[in-house]
Structure formats: C-alpha cells, structure tokens
C-alpha cells in the first residue's frame, strides 16, 4: 500500500465511474468523428478523415470558433465588471446581513435558465421594459434582442451568480488592515485598490473567469432563444448538427474542438494563476 495507505483503493470507485461515464463516451465521440455523415442523417461505417478534413478546410467553422471564444470572453468580462462590486459589497457587509445577501445573489439559480431567458425576451423585446425606458428618456432604442446584444445581456445575467460565488470564495485573503495601512502611508483609494485589493482578490477573479468562460462557451439554450437564429456559436452548431440535421460525425468533431477550447482555457488559467501566486508571494 506504500506511502498513501488505503487511499488508492478509496479513489478507485470514483475513477471507475469517471472512466465509464466520461472517458468511454468521449472515446466513442472521437470514434464517431472519423465516420462519414450521410445526407438525411445516415452514418457511414468506414474509417474516414472526411469530416475532419471538411471541417478544418472550412473558414466558416474557424469564424464560428473565433466568434464563440470572443463572445465568451466578452461575457466573462462583463460578468466580472458587474459581479465584482456586488461581491465586494457582500464581502464587506455586516456579518448579520452577509448570509442573506449571498442567498440573494445566488437566488437566480433557483429559477431555470430557460425561464430567465424568456424573462429577458419580455424585458428586451420591442414593447418591453428596456426599450420603453430608453424611449422615455428620448433615446431611440437599438434592437436589444434576437441578435448578439441580447445573447450577451442574457448570458451575463444568467452567469453572474457563478462569478459572484467564485469571487466570494476567493476574497478570503482580503484583510481590511492592509488597506488601512496603505492608506495611512498616503496611497489614494485607487492605488490601494490597484496595488492591494486587486492582487489579493486575483485568485477569485481567475476562478470566476474560468468558470464563466467555460459555462458560456457550452451554453446553447440562451443563445438559441435570444439570438434569433443569427448568433451561430460552437454550442449551437453542435446542437443543430446533433438534433436537427442529424450529422452526428460533424457534431462529434465540433464537440471535440469545444473540448480542446476547454483544455486551452484550463492551461491559460493554470499559467496565470501560478504567475499571480508568485507575484503576490
């Protein structure tokens, strides 16, 4: 048993479950991407590179990949900008209220994303609250829904609770005495934030960004409902190919690309997190 005692034995069930429910389907998916998709949804039986060759040679899918990553980064950025002050306020609020505020921040998760998306359809729609408000203050409202704007607004709101939770989890190192010390040495508030608060909360920021990014790039219901069929992303393409046109090999290949994006996000996260830790230490 060596140094770890019974530990490997205890991990075994979890490893077995993961192998069976994650790795095995993934391998199947990989296998499927080397078949040929026939018109009408048939799947060829011979090994072929055709699906991958067409996919990689087609600029359309490169565009979709870049658009998906770009949109996800934008949404992550907005979720951070909107979530950070909230999380900070909750963290600094009186202990009596803090739990209540945390619950209030994450309570949107109690309602399904589909329902919240429909809510946004009502709010952003032509005769909804947001355009009426804009008209009221004399601004001709741009189209807020059934396009990229709608998708970004909807996803930022839907994913904010995850961002806030991650930020709160990472705020543990924050210590008000450090800020007071900096201020007493003559640092203006902005410098205190930039030099003290931000570096100390960086682990939470990174975790929140990773989580939000991964959730954005894999969400397809909200982009489908709020995008009006115009916002073509990696996840919506996978859905359409798997469910509507029944081109399973192409859907499998696109899924593996999405998996690759997740892997890349993890690597980037790991690098930045390590660099940040070294910088703080």
């Amino acid at each position: 048993m060596g140094r770890f005692g019974l530990l490997p034995l205890l991990v075994l069930p979890a490893v077995a479950v993961n192998l069976l429910t994650f790795l095995w389907p993934m391998l199947n998916l990989a296998g499927l991407s080397f078949r040929e998709g026939m018109p009408g949804g048939g799947i060829g039986t011979d090994f072929t590179m055709a699906t991958w060759r067409d996919l990689l040679a087609d600029e359309f899918y490169l565009e979709i990949l870049l658009r998906s990553v770009g949109v996800s980064l934008t949404i992550t950025g907005f979720a951070l900008l909107a979530g950070y002050p909230l999380a900070f306020f909750v963290h600094r609020s009186d202990a009596r209220w803090r739990n209540l505020l945390v619950v209030a921040c994450i309570s949107p998760l109690l309602i399904s994303a589909v329902v919240r998306t429909y809510g946004w359809l009502v709010i952003l729609g032509d005769r909804g609250f947001a355009p009426s408000l804009l008209r009221g203050i004399g601004i001709d409202p741009p189209r807020l829904v059934f396009n990229m704007t709608g998708v970004i607004i909807g996803l930022v709101e839907i994913l904010m609770p995850y961002m806030i939770l991650s930020l709160l989890a990472g705020f543990g190192k924050l210590n008000q005495t450090l800020e007071e010390a900096a201020a007493s040495l003559g640092a203006p508030p902005l410098t205190v934030f930039w030099r003290i608060v931000l570096p100390l909360t960086l682990p939470g920021i990174l975790l929140g960004c990773l989580l939000t990014f991964v959730l954005t790039i894999s969400s397809f219901i909200t982009p489908k409902l709020l995008g009006g069929g115009r916002v073509l992303l990696l996840a919506t393409e996978i859905y359409d190919n798997a469910i509507v046109t029944l081109n399973w090999p192409l859907a499998a290949a696109l899924s593996l690309i999405a998996l690759g994006v997740f892997g890349a996000a993890m690597v980037v996260y790991g690098r930045i997190a390590r660099a940040a830790e070294r910088a703080i230490a």
Binding site: G40, D126, G228, V244
Partner: protein, 352 residues
C-alpha cells in the same frame, strides 16, 4: 414448509396488487405505438383519427408517442433498429426516403392495402416505403390587426413597412427550405434546383427579419404581437387563426406555394405488425382523411375523401390554387438540402 396465515395474506395481497398488469395479458389486447408530431397536431389527430380507430378496433390500443420533428423520429427508429419499440411512424417524405434507404421501413403493398389505389399519385415516391398521409402547404402568416389590408402576395415580406416585424424559421427547418424555393420563383428563378435567386432574396430580407428562430414558433410570435408577418404551415395557420380571435391570419398568396407531404411508415420488425397495418389502412381511409381535413385543414391524400367546400377552400388543394403550386420533388430537394443549408448559414443568417 408450512403455509402460515401470514404467507397466505401476503400472497393474496401481492396478487391483488399485480392484477392491473395481469389483466391485459388475458384480454389479448394489442398495443401499437405511433410516433407522430406533438402539440396541436397530436391533440387533433388523436381526437379524429386515433380515438375513432380504437373504437372501431376494441382489441387494439394506440399509444401516441409525440415527436418534435421528423428528424428526431428517424433518429429514434434508427437507435431502436435492433429492437424496435415503434410500430408506425409519421415523418415528411424526405425523411421517409432516408429511413427506407437505411432499411428501417417495410413496404406497403397494394395486396395488403387496397386503399392505396384511391390515393393521389403524389402520395407515392419511388424508393420510399412510407406513403403520403396528409398534404400541407406553406402559407403567409400575418397579424390582421396591423397588416391591413390582408396580404395577398409573398412580396409583402419585402415591404419596408414591416422591417423588424418578421418571424420565419430558418433552414435546416423545412419552412426555411420551402420559403427559399418560393422566393426563388417569386424573384424570377425558373428551376427550383437553381435556388440562387431565392438565397439572394432572403439574404436581402435578413436585416428586416426580427427572428430566424422564433420559439416556440412563428404562429405564437404573431399571436402575442412580437411579430406581424411570418411563414408557416397552412393547416396549423388556419386552425390557429380560427382560435386566435383575430390575432393571427393565414393567407394563401396569389403566386402560389408548395406542398409538403407527411408520410406514414411501417417500422421494419415492428412488435405489432398486423395491428399496425390495420391502423395505417384506417389512417388512409376516406373517413379518417376527411375527418382530419375538416378538423385541421390538412389536404387529404385519399381522392375519395368527402371534404366540405369550406374546409377545402382553406387548403391549397382547391382546384384554382392547385395550378399555381410550385411542383417540388422533395427527393430532389433532399439531394441539395445540405448545400442549401450551408448557403443559409453563410449568406442569409449571418447578414444583418
């Protein structure tokens, strides 16, 4: 071992509990499973075709398995190829062709189905084992409250007055595919296989379209005031317009439209093949065909079906409209469907 009172009680109770499951086996009741469209289609098909069939055949129970679209029905049959659970499946004719090519459907022979002789020739397609059961056509949906006078031409979609008020379901949905072919003829195309003019016309329309993916559908978008114009299926459009109290209208434009064919297929290796055949024969019979046309304005495939003039005038099957219909061979469309879908994604949807 001795049988105690406790054992006896347990046995009796167990038997009683199991009764509901034992009874059907004794009664020799056969259950067939029909996979067809859900929602309002299911509601009406169940009422005027499935229920009367069960009353006429007390030994057969039909379970209606609702499907959101033809492609998913095909996916289900394909997944169950080794051990089919479905007996009868309804899908559009191109999916019927794909299912036949994959060996998922048994042929329906005139010997077993005398009713086939009464069906319109367009109910059949070479190399397709499923047989037409309803005809439907594309129609122009509008909001009678805001679109005045009632539109008579597809061209109203390109009227700048309705910019940002249009809802159409894009390709790969068959509404989007069909609309491309209608627009192609409208803008001077002479052969639907060369659909470039249709693609160009819809690309020009794209910035004025509110949503290419109305959820749950275009009918709802117009009924609740989100959109004012749209494209949908005539049967549903006619039915909803009668239920919507003036919120939705369905027009059959003067330039004509195109037919779409829903077919019924007998699943190969179906668990209850004989009962399934009885159901298909009934669904194609003049009685069932007329009942469904009266109820939901699907044009009948059975030429002997007696449909009232009123119901017929709400379908594209009236004699004066038939001549204007764009003759489309859906099996030809299936060949270029992927290519058309790519054009949609590259040239229409991404343009705004």
């Amino acid at each position: 071992m001795t049988i105690s009172r406790r054992h006896l009680t347990q046995g009796t109770l167990g038997g009683l509990l199991a009764m509901p499951f034992i009874r059907p086996a004794f009664a020799q009741e056969r259950t067939i499973t029909l996979a067809a469209y859900g929602g309002i289609f299911q509601e009406n098909y169940q009422a005027v075709v499935v229920d009367p069939f069960m009353r006429a055949h007390p030994g057969i129970k039909v379970t209606y398995f609702a499907m959101p679209n033809s492609a998913q029905t095909l996916g289900t049959i394909r997944a169950q190829k080794a051990a089919p659970q479905l007996d009868v499946a309804m899908f559009d004719i191109t999916i019927g062709k794909a299912a036949t090519d994959e060996g998922l459907l048994d042929p329906l022979t005139p010997a077993e189905f005398p009713v086939l002789a009464d069906l319109a020739p367009s109910a059949f397609a070479p190399g397709v084992n499923s047989v037409g059961v309803t005809f439907d056509s594309l129609s122009l949906l509008y909001s009678p409250e805001t679109v005045k006078p009632a539109p008579t031409s597809w061209r109203v979609l390109w009227d700048p007055a309705y910019s940002g008020k249009i809802a159409i379901t894009a390709a790969p949905d068959i509404v989007g595919i069909g609309m491309t072919l209608v627009a192609n003829r409208l803008f001077g195309g002479t052969d639907y296989k060369d659909f470039s003019r249709g693609v160009q016309a819809l690309a020009d329309l794209s910035p004025h379209v509110l949503s290419w993916d109305p959820k749950p559908d275009a009918y709802t978008f117009i009924t609740n005031g989100t959109a004012q114009l749209g494209v949908g299926w005539n049967a549903r459009g006619q039915l909803y317009s009668r239920q919507s109290a003036g919120k939705l209208g369905a027009a059959l434009p003067e330039e004509g439209s195109l037919f779409q064919i829903n077919t019924l297929g007998l699943v190969k290796g179906a668990p209850q093949s004989e009962a399934a055949k009885a159901f298909i024969a009934y669904a194609l019979s003049p009685v069932a065909q007329a009942a469904f046309a009266e109820r939901m304005f699907y044009a009948p495939v059975n030429t002997k079906a007696q449909v009232s003039a009123e119901a017929l005038s709400a379908t594209a099957a009236s004699p004066e409209r038939m001549g204007k219909m764009l003759a489309v061979d859906w099996l030809e469309v299936a060949k270029f469907r992927n290519q058309l879908n790519e054009q949609w994604r590259r040239r229409i949807l991404t343009r705004s």
